[in-house]
């Protein structure tokens, strides 16, 4: 049994300047990893590398034991993402509904659970899941508030039953209530569908709830790779403390 995602010795440089150095970890089925670290430590970059949007300088990323991205038709179903800045990840000319349906339409034949679900039903289900009024889906992305668009992005990410979701700061812009809903939703997805998460967040509470393991980054290097947040180094500790109000 291969881990869902494994990252080995990943290094990324821009113009010979290292952004990430020698990162390794893996995520098994139903397990999730949290990535924390100070701003600019390379979290987003790591996420983009995992998603295959950037080419690593060296190192290897594999999904289910297969090198990723390989260009295979269906490999993309297994991985989904929520960007740090979700508004820009929606085509400004499309309604939110269309943007959400796009991956679903693409991957529908190979979905396990709801290939037969109609698009309307899916949207209703997604709206319910992320706690958004369904009518908001018919708007253009810039007509939604920050939190609403965030939830729409999450809805899109879960619509195709991915095996792993990379989420960059998914709780920003969410009020406590929606945040709780999302946490619950992700938990349920982990349990029922066996979705793994790569959670990039400053929200310590969030990470603690969902992640079985946490990678702590500092200046592009892994400082800690720990099960319990409390067991980390002083650097990690500082985070944990500050993040608890």
């Amino acid at each position: 049994m291969y881990p869902v995602l494994s990252v080995t010795d990943l290094t990324y440089q821009i113009k010979d300047q290292p952004i990430l150095s020698n990162i390794s970890f893996h995520v098994t089925k139903k397990a999730s990893i949290g990535i924390i670290g100070e701003s600019g430590s390379g979290k987003t970059t790591l996420g983009r590398l995992i998603l295959g949007l950037l080419k690593p300088t060296h190192g290897l990323i594999s999904l289910h034991g297969k090198a990723f991205p390989s260009g295979h038709r269906n490999e993309r179903r297994a991985i989904q993402a929520v960007f740090q800045h979700p508004l820009a990840s929606f085509n400004p000319e499309w309604t939110v509904r269309e943007s959400i349906l796009e991956p679903f339409r693409r991957h529908r034949p190979i979905l396990r659970h709801f290939p037969a679900t109609s698009e309307e039903n899916l949207m209703t289900a997604l709206a319910l899941a992320v706690g958004l009024e369904e009518r908001l889906f018919d708007r253009l992305p810039h007509q939604l508030s920050g939190g609403q668009i965030q939830r729409a992005a999450i809805a899109r990410a879960i619509s195709i039953e991915p095996d792993i979701i990379v989420m960059d700061e998914p709780t920003t812009g969410l009020d406590v209530v929606s945040r709780a809903q999302i946490i619950e939703l992700l938990e349920r997805l982990q349990q029922t569908l066996g979705v793994s998460l790569v959670l990039i967040s400053h929200d310590i509470d969030f990470i603690r709830r969902l992640c079985s393991e946490t990678l702590v980054l500092r200046d592009g290097r892994a400082v800690d790779l720990i099960d319990r947040l409390e067991s980390g180094s002083a650097y990690t500790q500082r985070f944990v403390e500050a993040g608890t109000w």
């Binding site: 987003t44 508030s145 985070f239």
Partner: protein, 248 residues
């Protein structure tokens, strides 16, 4: 002192319902509300820059002029959109000064950069070359460049790590005292709001639910406030069950 009188904003349907609010000077005011409750819109209305197609009535009264940039500093929620992709930070900063006929205040800028833990060399980077948190901090820098007396901060810590968040809020408080500024800090977390806010404003569905000092809010009997307080206090498991009832 800024008075918001009967502000009413609508697009297809009403987004802000007849709002009345007074923002006392030299205060750290926290605007708390659920997602989509109209916090950002209220800020935009204060800046007098509502999105196209929205109509508004009512007025904003202030004893002093409210010039964008000079008197009001705005930190947008969608901070990544705030920067022209083809200009470096320095160029944009210079433009901000120039727009108001000022000279670059280097010592001050350096000072703020240090506080925000921003490397001065990043000033010569394009927005696309910076991380989310770095961008958000630059957005803050831009908002305070001209030492405005009113700062509208829309979720300014979303991309910042907790350590930095605390440091930043401390610094904002300091700034408020130093320059006698009013800070309107939008958030939906009660934690920082209760900690830093001198006055809290609670919003729900385009309406102001309650205003008051942190103590008053903690004691409030209003169902919305209570649900927020409860969510803040309790552990996440309990949180969700209690909240979903009060939230439609």
């Amino acid at each position: 002192m800024i008075q918001i009188r009967n502000i009413h904003v609508r697009a297809k349907h009403v987004l802000l319902h007849d709002m009345n609010l007074s923002l006392p000077a030299h205060r750290f005011i926290c605007l708390v509300g659920a997602s989509g409750s109209g916090k950002t819109l209220l800020l935009k209305r204060l800046l007098d820059r509502l999105p196209d197609g929205m109509s508004s009535s009512g007025e904003v009264i202030s004893d002093e002029p409210l010039r964008r940039g000079l008197d009001i500093g705005y930190i947008p929620q969608q901070y990544t959109d705030a920067f022209l992709p083809f200009l470096t930070m320095r160029q944009m900063l210079r433009d901000t000064y120039r727009a108001h006929g000022r000279k670059m205040d280097h010592p001050y800028i350096d000072d703020v950069l240090r506080t925000l833990e921003l490397d001065p060399t990043w000033l010569d980077r394009y927005p696309g070359e910076l991380s989310g948190g770095q961008l958000q901090r630059f957005a803050i820098l831009f908002a305070v460049t001209l030492k405005p007396r009113l700062i509208l901060a829309d979720e300014l810590t979303t991309a910042l790590d907790p350590v930095l968040t605390r440091r930043l809020l401390d610094w904002l408080t300091e700034y408020q005292h130093q320059y006698g500024a009013t800070i309107l800090f939008v958030t939906h977390e009660l934690g920082p709001a209760l900690h830093y806010g001198e006055q809290l404003v609670l919003m729900q569905d385009g309406r102001i639910v309650e205003t008051g000092t942190p103590q008053m809010i903690e004691q409030s009997r209003h169902p919305f406030t209570m649900s927020l307080m409860q969510a803040h206090r309790t552990s996440p498991e309990e949180r969700k069950s209690s909240c979903t009832q009060s939230y439609p």
